[in-house]
Symmetry: C2
Subunit: 205 residues, 2 copies
């Protein structure tokens, strides 16, 4: 008790830091062993906090999983699409953002595993579904915004419905990510298919 | 021991039946609780066989999971694409087979859950990867065969690479299945996106 109270007081003083440390530890744990292997005690220990502090921040195991998904969504490359950098066409920005979802960096891979794991777990844990739907809708909206930018700047000349096309592209990339993470397709070939999909859905008719 | 030996003798006499009963029980268990929640003892009990008989047929837990994936693959609607029914064009056959992956029947849903679960588990269980790759490759080959049939019968007039297009279509359907099973998209809307994807990748240029 004394230890837990001390730990809690210290962590509360550290404020936001402890929340971030817990989320980082949760993401690492999910990337290594999956959502189904996630144990609150392990995450707390790895984050250097007490389990009660973890519950204080996230209320429940499923609250922690939902927050991990939210974090993965914020860190996903496509999330940056909404703020288009100057000098990039809409077409190039959409292609680059979708290709980046299959980047070789360990952070991107871990992020993709977290995303895939929470989606797969939502089949059996209905309390996760609203959150999965929300982050997927956000992903689609940011890709649709990139397509609209491309239609406006002339880099996408084919007359396409931005929302339908965004839906097709994110589902394609999601399916390829699953295959890549499962070891059923090489990353480079999956990226080649993303390029082909973007070209065939957005490129010159 | 006596009971186990009796059960084994009886089941061996029943031969193939017990193997099928175990696979059916495994598929039901995976569809209900996922691969990660799969317990050999539960499957054996539900199939009415002894755990030793289950090990006799499948060697290990991962052997059972691999056999469940194989079964899901054989029962997947796209698997029937290879034998094109008379009167169906290649285009219609490809579209129907891909739409059927999102059919509302409980068997199709359970089958899709098994497929998705084994793929998701392969991220953490490398011994599953070769099997996932093999069934995905088989799926792609059967869709590519349907596309070739459509190019031959004139129902697909766009000049497409059958293998690349099949790869794009199965990844799209896989991504949509994941979203559907996770409750992040309605089944009917997902089917509408399958139709749109087929039309935009195979339809008139």
């Amino acid at each position: 008790m004394a230890k837990s109270a001390t730990a809690r007081a210290r962590a509360e003083a550290e404020g936001r830091d402890s929340r971030d440390a817990i989320l980082e530890a949760a993401a690492r744990a999910i990337a290594a062993r999956g959502v189904r292997g996630l144990r609150i005690e392990d995450v707390a220990r790895e984050a250097g906090v007490s389990p009660p502090l973890l519950y204080y921040h996230f209320e429940s195991r499923s609250g922690l999983v939902r927050a991990a998904l939210e974090r993965a969504s914020e860190r996903a490359p496509s999330a940056r699409l909404a703020r288009l950098e100057p000098g990039h066409t809409g077409y190039a920005a959409v292609e680059a953002a979708l290709l980046a979802e299959l980047d070789e960096s360990p952070e991107i891979r871990d992020n993709a595993v977290v995303w895939g794991e929470v989606s797969a777990s939502a089949v059996f844990e209905p309390e996760l579904r609203d959150d999965v739907r929300r982050v997927v809708d956000g992903w689609r909206a940011s890709v649709a915004a990139g397509i609209r930018a491309g239609l406006a700047d002339g880099s996408i000349r084919r007359r396409v419905d931005p929302d339908e096309t965004a839906d097709l592209l994110i589902s394609l990339v999601d399916g390829l990510c699953t295959r890549w993470l499962a070891g059923a397709i090489e990353r480079e070939r999956a990226q080649g298919l993303v390029r082909a999909g973007v070209r065939r859905l957005l490129g010159p008719a």
